[in-house]
Symmetry: C2
Subunit: 378 residues, 2 copies
């Protein structure tokens, strides 16, 4: 049923109801209405209820734009990502949203897609005062003088770092340490020839992971073969490309350490399209522990980043700085440690010589119930 007989083409639906309409109806001044909303204790009981009725009757909602203009604050923060679809982000964003929402802030999500036009667009959006703060995941925001921007609007870096900028707070995983531990794990299982598929070459986090890989090899007294360090990116495609390289090289590594789960997925998928088996012929380790890491075939052994914590801490850091530096000063750099998640994509080399196969498999399955899959209420 078309309940309103309104004419088509909605001829500028009159004018929206303003604070003046309410004031008029309640027979008070606009100041009183405003105060009733913002500081009720300053308004007499009787007047207050008069105003409330007028508000209800007119269906008034304060205009956010006008309010922002006058208050010089939009109560919005920008979360700037590279690839909304990247499943690594999701639980971080959830945690962030949670914290921001409780603090009365909204969140604008922007996706730069590594596209200069978009980067410029969001840069302008920030300069135009459309947000009170920025959470930056992208590792760069060209065209922006960060120092200048950060003087106007607080910026916090999440899970990425920007070289040559030392004035911005960072919340991230202990990438180097985590990568080292993963490679140590592989070495501990008897692997000696371990390749590494890196993230994007200029990404600081990716470089840290590469550093950890080197650390572990060095510590184990193994040679570091540059021919086994394959440049990639945080995407499934990069894994596909690296897999071709793996298939071509000889002798083949017995284990592949991927700088992200998406890379690992690309590796597994492509290698399995041949007659080779994962993990029987080659072990593959990921990084991140994305939601689907536990349900792919085989379930992925990986480093779990504490994503919820990363998000929460980043949001809290930003909130504190938007509030104006009161309270305890935030640390410049927060580094959280990761957790090794053992599933089935990694296997001990020469298993028969080291331990009974079944026993070992049983041990690996210990964490089996934890599928790593996103939980959500019905």
């Amino acid at each position: 049923m078309a309940r309103t007989g309104r004419s088509r083409r909605a001829a500028k639906p009159s004018r929206s109801v303003t604070i003046r309409d309410v004031a008029h109806r309640a027979d008070v001044s606009t100041a009183t209405v405003s105060r009733t909303l913002a500081a009720p204790h300053l308004v007499a009981e009787a007047t207050r209820s008069l105003v409330y009725t007028a508000i209800r009757e007119t269906g008034f909602t304060p205009n956010a734009t006008a309010r922002s203009l006058r208050a010089r604050s939009t109560k919005m923060v920008l979360a700037l990502l590279n690839g909304i679809g990247n499943s690594f982000y999701t639980s971080i964003l959830n945690a962030i949203e949670e914290v921001l929402f409780e603090a009365g802030y909204g969140m604008i999500m922007g996706d730069t897609r590594a596209d200069p036009r978009r980067e410029a667009h969001y840069d302008e959006l920030v300069r135009a005062g459309q947000v009170d703060g920025v959470l930056l995941f992208t590792g760069r925001l060209p065209g922006a003088d960060f120092a200048a921007l950060n003087a106007t609007v607080p910026i916090t870096l999440v899970c990425n770092d920007i070289p040559d900028i030392d004035s911005l707070p960072v919340v991230e995983s202990a990438n180097r340490d985590a990568a080292r531990r993963m490679v140590e794990h592989l070495v501990g299982l008897g692997h000696r020839r371990i390749a590494h598929v890196t993230g994007p070459p200029h990404n600081v986090e990716a470089r840290e992971r590469l550093g950890g890989y080197r650390d572990a090899l060095a510590a184990a007294g193994l040679p570091i073969d540059d021919g086994l360090i394959w440049e990639g990116a945080f995407a499934v495609d990069a894994g596909v490309i690296a897999a071709r390289r793996f298939l071509a090289v000889s002798p083949r590594p017995t284990a592949l350490f991927a700088a992200s789960d998406d890379i690992a997925i690309g590796l597994i998928k492509t290698i399995r399209d041949t007659e080779l088996s994962v993990p029987d012929d080659v072990s593959i380790a990921g990084f991140d522990d994305i939601d689907y890491a536990g349900v792919i075939d085989p379930p992925l052994t990986t480093m779990r980043q504490p994503r919820a914590d990363l998000g929460r801490l980043a949001a809290e850091n930003l909130l504190r700085r938007m509030a104006g530096g009161a309270g305890k000063p935030s640390p410049r750099r927060v580094r959280l440690s990761c957790e090794l998640i053992i599933r089935q994509s990694v296997r001990a080399i020469a298993a028969a010589e080291r331990a009974p196969r079944t026993l070992r498999a049983g041990a690996h399955r210990a964490g089996g119930l934890d599928t790593g899959v996103r939980r959500s209420r019905a």
Copy 2:
């Protein structure tokens, strides 16, 4: 290096540079500056370059809030979801962002999480004029008088429908038809006892899929057993719960049709934790074709929703209506058909009697190269 000697506690960093500063510097009026930006052809060549220099020298960026207030338009649209992390959304959102960006609109993403407080929050955000349009994925926005809201700000429904509201445009998949075809596919492979795990009971799309399931069974002359219709939700957990039910029932269905890929993943994971095999002991079909559908074990046979198209059409629809009804009127309801993606989670029943195993498997693998995995550039 702390390059600015600015005192700590950033004492309200002076005042931001306004159009007046620029006007003063270029020795023209604010109107001229504004015109230079918005309609350069109205300004004399010489004046124009004067203004440009002044803008460059001052580093002026027009304040978006003031602009919005005056122009009565924020150039922003709200995408309201239920669960940012839901991987079904990603490519839809990408397509939407693409279209909106080209049209000069920004996107605010809101996640209601089926939480009334959040729903109310976003409702208020819309009423407060913070956005020029809304793309609604959530199926409901309580506390809002949709008709009234839609009179102020255009709303377009994406991949969901709201009962009893007939005034809002909808862009969705042909759910009923797609579900019917999937079940026909199962029937065609010899399955006679097919269970269905539904989405949330009040979700219109989920109900349509249930309808398609019934249609197919009826058309095939098979009985519809309400004991094989299991209420679920669009989440992995729902699959886990349904799997327990599957394991308890007797005789067991030979095929399970899940209303979403996430459900199917929960089913597979749980069933495989027993001694049963998918697809040897039971076939499992999904719906959506999310990014990871091709890499889970086994790769999921599913109905691919044309997600990019859905997003694009929804955004275009909204854009058209925000522009003010000029041009061709939009259809009230767009329904796109889905594509059956055959992978390996579904197998013909009594395969030995119907065709040589290897041949059949080969046929299934035809689409194998298409992993359905998100591609992205490095």
